[in-house]
């Protein structure tokens, strides 16, 4: 196509791919802008869709404009204003019929001042991550509105049926509407809790991708990429919030190992056995840089910041034997105080064992054997077995490895545990 009338020269066949990419980049911004004008997500989404439908028609006919984003924003604003006018006319008619005092609800549409786009986007993130919604509903809505994914993409990523996701999103929107939740930027007092709700969604999406398996194998899952993108967005929009930076640092560093944690035959490779030259140094550098920023902000004591600091200890060790276990154990001590949980305690036992010897590790782990919550959790006997083996208690180690083998659902792990149990038997 020739470059005529200020349009980008491009192949017409590329239009679909181009529009998909533009949707991904611009639709969250358009929805965020429009939702501030029209108030509800459903209408804002419809306006965004109408905008893209007219874009495709026009661009197919006339070519792609030089600045598609500007074209889309102008068109979306026009369509939004048109809808508000029609809605107000409608309301005006109802009011006349009802013979009530007509109220001037009309916004002065010609004098709408566009606010800061960053505020609009942050407001939309807060809206789709509203604590009134379940974490699952928040995740689906956020992936749709903020990441620009369609329902089919989300369903595939969550390994769920498309109608389930569609229902989840529909219900989330109805819940927001029923509770009259409109576009808003939470004030200073409400903000920390609202940010927590957003971070919870990002971490949930990341973990959903990180732990996705097919049989015994990790499967590559785009949810990790989406969570990273959301985390980077949120960190860009709230650059001085240490816990947001902590969450981002944590997932950047965890994601740096996505390639290395899969063996040549698709089998999972444990952290200490990974080929560290395959860790993604770009992501590690970003994580460590974020931790530096958290230190400047004096925010190192939050739960995400602590977990990120632990992940960074592993990332900094060039060889597994270089790991700074005393530091990791100290960080777990801190984490156990602010976020006590059996899993944190189990990790603390491992770190303590590595840092200060197996007896110290056993002292931390033993009380966990009494907990009903961990009774069926295979990693508990695996850890106890490992520590018992190190102190020379091979009978106990063998019992624990057999128990771990019986509890795990992963074939690979089962054979490792059985093998370790057999090796213990030769000692006793």
């Amino acid at each position: 196509m020739a470059d005529l009338d200020g349009h980008t020269a491009t192949e017409t066949g590329n239009l679909d791919a181009m529009v998909t990419a533009v949707w991904r980049v611009e639709s969250p911004r358009i929805i965020a802008r429009v939702v501030r004008l029209v108030g509800d997500i459903d209408t804002a989404e419809e306006v965004a869709q109408d905008t893209f439908v007219s874009a495709i028609e026009k661009w197919r006919r006339d070519g792609i404009p030089n600045n598609p984003a500007a074209w889309l924003h102008t068109t979306a604003r026009f369509l939004a204003v048109d809808r508000i006018r029609r809605r107000d006319t409608q309301r005006h008619k109802y009011e006349q019929v009802a013979a009530t005092t007509p109220q001037t609800t009309e916004v002065d549409l010609d004098h709408i001042v566009d606010g800061d786009l960053a505020d609009d986007l942050l407001g939309l993130i807060f809206m789709s991550c509203h604590p009134i919604l379940s974490p699952d509903a928040r995740s689906a809505l956020t992936l749709k509105l903020i990441c620009g994914l369609n329902t089919a993409d989300i369903a595939r990523a969550f390994l769920t049926a498309e109608p389930t996701i569609a229902q989840r999103i529909g219900r989330a929107k109805r819940t927001l509407a029923a509770a009259s939740i409109r576009f808003e930027l939470p004030g200073a007092t409400e903000r920390p809790a609202r940010l927590d709700a957003v971070r919870e969604v990002i971490y949930l999406v990341f973990n959903e991708g990180y732990t996705a398996t097919s049989g015994d194998r990790w499967i590559h899952n785009e949810l990790c990429d989406e969570a990273l993108r959301l985390g980077r967005m949120l960190a860009g929009l709230t650059p001085d919030d240490p816990e947001t930076l902590g969450l981002l640092a944590l997932i950047e560093i965890q994601a740096s190992r996505l390639v290395a944690r899969v063996g040549p035959d698709g089998e999972p490779v444990l952290l200490m056995d990974q080929d560290r030259s395959r860790w993604d140094q770009t992501l590690i550098r970003r994580g460590i840089m974020l931790i530096g920023r958290i230190e400047q902000l004096h925010g190192t004591a939050g739960p995400y910041a602590l977990q990120a600091a632990i992940a960074a200890c592993h990332a900094r060790a060039i060889r597994a034997e270089d790991t700074d276990w005393p530091r990791i154990a100290a960080l777990y001590d801190g984490l156990a105080q602010i976020m006590p949980s059996p899993i944190v305690e189990l990790n603390r036992a491992v770190a303590t064992g590595r840092a200060f010897g197996p007896r110290a590790g056993l002292d931390v782990v033993r009380p966990l054997l009494e907990l009903p919550a961990l009774r069926e959790y295979h990693l508990l006997p695996a850890v106890v077995g490992d520590l018992s083996c190190s102190v020379g208690d091979h009978d106990e180690a063998r019992r624990q490895f057999l128990r771990a083998a019986a509890l795990t659902r992963n074939n690979q792990e089962r054979s490792t545990m059985l093998e370790r149990a057999a090796r213990c038997a030769t000692h006793s």
Partner: protein
Amino acid sequence: MRFMVMHYQTQAMEDGVPPSPEEQEAIGAYMQEAAMSGVLLSGEGVASSAAGARVEVTDGNVRVIDGPFAEAKELIAGFGILEVRSLEEAVEHARKFALLVGAERVDVRRVVEFKDHE
């Protein structure tokens, strides 16, 4: 997937003319834009080639040439590493960058990653 997005020097940049307030504002607008989109992994800008050098090897013979170099348009002025889903998406970000800062040319190149070798 990752892309390296590169833009090129202008004669003014090569001559060491400091950026005008408008140009600085445009860069600020781009940084805001990049932060909001969550795609920029890293980026750097470079100084005039007068502050650099070039190493040329011909048949094993090494020649070190100090800057400045002619042909400003062939000299990289800066780069960003973007993480996006497709080439088209990287192109849209490059377009925004070019329009905001007034770059005449931006190259978009795929970064080779570990997962490409799987």
